[in-house]
Subunit: 235 residues, 2 copies
């Protein structure tokens, strides 16, 4: 349960990595404590951090992209706050060395696991929110996102999966994908739809499920995109 | 496109209904403009408002329920910010009379439609966030949620669906539900699971789908709960 960095070193780490020094260092320690390491762990702070991160990023994007519609803003945010992006940021900041993990997690290398890193980074943001309020989190989020905010992936990559799949196929003059409703389960207002997506020319097929037919189609399209040959993914 | 309330009456309405007066009344008017009424509509503000509402409610719940785990906090928040709850609050505040709707929506009674009311209320919160910042939104959210915050449904209703179903059946000494994996689609890391939930003693069956087996089971349980006779739903 001993992290590579001791409690005494945390203030220097947060100052350097986050541009922030905690008023209450105990909040920072709780944020860095995985549930495997004790009952006073970071899961409640992670809930709070996820919410405040989504809010700060929503406003940063709203102001930076005055012409983007809500769908584009939503996709841009999803790419910035994905588990993958957060884990990468946490790793870059050296957060893994500060984690408090239980024996099992420590042995199995939990300090390198993406989900644990991403969750702990959210928890640290939740801790700053309690420690100093909204403006402090906003400043830290700007600091840690850095150039990711100004260097977002091209708008084409942030289009919804059905649109991206259609454009990828049309770009090579290939026939459009075929969507077929393969199943509906549940009573009205509580239904679940299953949809298949078929690209016969490539012999590829995928299945998606969702609470609306549209969502099931989007999921199927997303999965088909993942199966496309690399040269078709970049149009 | 003329709302029941004119622009000149909006400051009095926001002061009375929200406990807030806009510095920039134009932001308030945009928040109340449905996309059917023009290009300067409220969908971007709704994106922002959804984010700031989730954040304020997360913190209010975090502080009000120091012993709740993150799952309970998440379910409590979902019940407070559901479309249904927001539409009810918007209706109670008389927001429908302030909406700017296009001709078609106006004729078809769009000012009473739940989704339009809920979205506009979120947009108004987004507008306050831009107008005066986080603290102002927080105060307005406390004001409009009012006793809903202190009178949340009993914790039992906020347990996860599988637990609620199990407790409902055990309370009548009935056999536990049977979950069966009925389908797996997609490649590894991109799978979709379908699960059936069977309660033979009541001749009830449901199906759920999700990206993990556990989520599919929870969805199936939620749907089975909805089919239970009323006397079994309250344990």
């Amino acid at each position: 349960m001993i992290p590579q960095r001791t409690s005494g070193e945390l203030p220097a780490w947060t100052a350097r990595a986050l541009g922030y020094v905690f008023v209450s260092p105990a909040l920072c320690e709780m944020a860095l404590t995985h549930r495997s390491a004790g009952s006073c762990h970071n899961e409640r702070l992670e809930f709070l951090g996820d919410a405040v991160l989504n809010c700060t990023v929503a406003r940063l994007l709203y102001e930076a992209h005055p012409k983007a519609d809500e769908g584009a803003l939503s996709r841009q945010r999803a790419s910035l706050v994905s588990g993958e992006t957060l884990a990468q940021i946490a790793a870059d900041l050296g957060l893994g060395d500060c984690l408090r993990l239980g024996g099992g997690e420590l042995k199995s290398g939990g300090f390198r696991r993406a989900s644990i890193l991403a969750d702990a980074l959210e928890a640290v943001l939740g801790a700053i929110f309690l420690d100093s309020g909204y403006a402090a989190v906003n400043a830290v989020v700007r600091h840690i996102l850095g150039t990711r905010l100004s260097e977002l992936p091209p708008a084409s990559e942030l289009k919804d999966p059905k649109t991206r799949l259609q454009e990828a196929l049309q770009g090579r003059a290939m026939a459009l994908p075929l969507y077929e409703l393969t199943g509906v389960a549940g009573e009205a207002h509580e239904q679940s739809f299953t949809v298949s997506c078929d690209v016969p020319s490539l012999k590829l097929k995928s299945v998606g499920a969702g609470v609306t037919r549209r969502r099931a189609e989007q999921e199927a399209a997303e999965r088909l995109l993942a199966q496309l040959p690399a040269d078709l993914q970049k149009i």
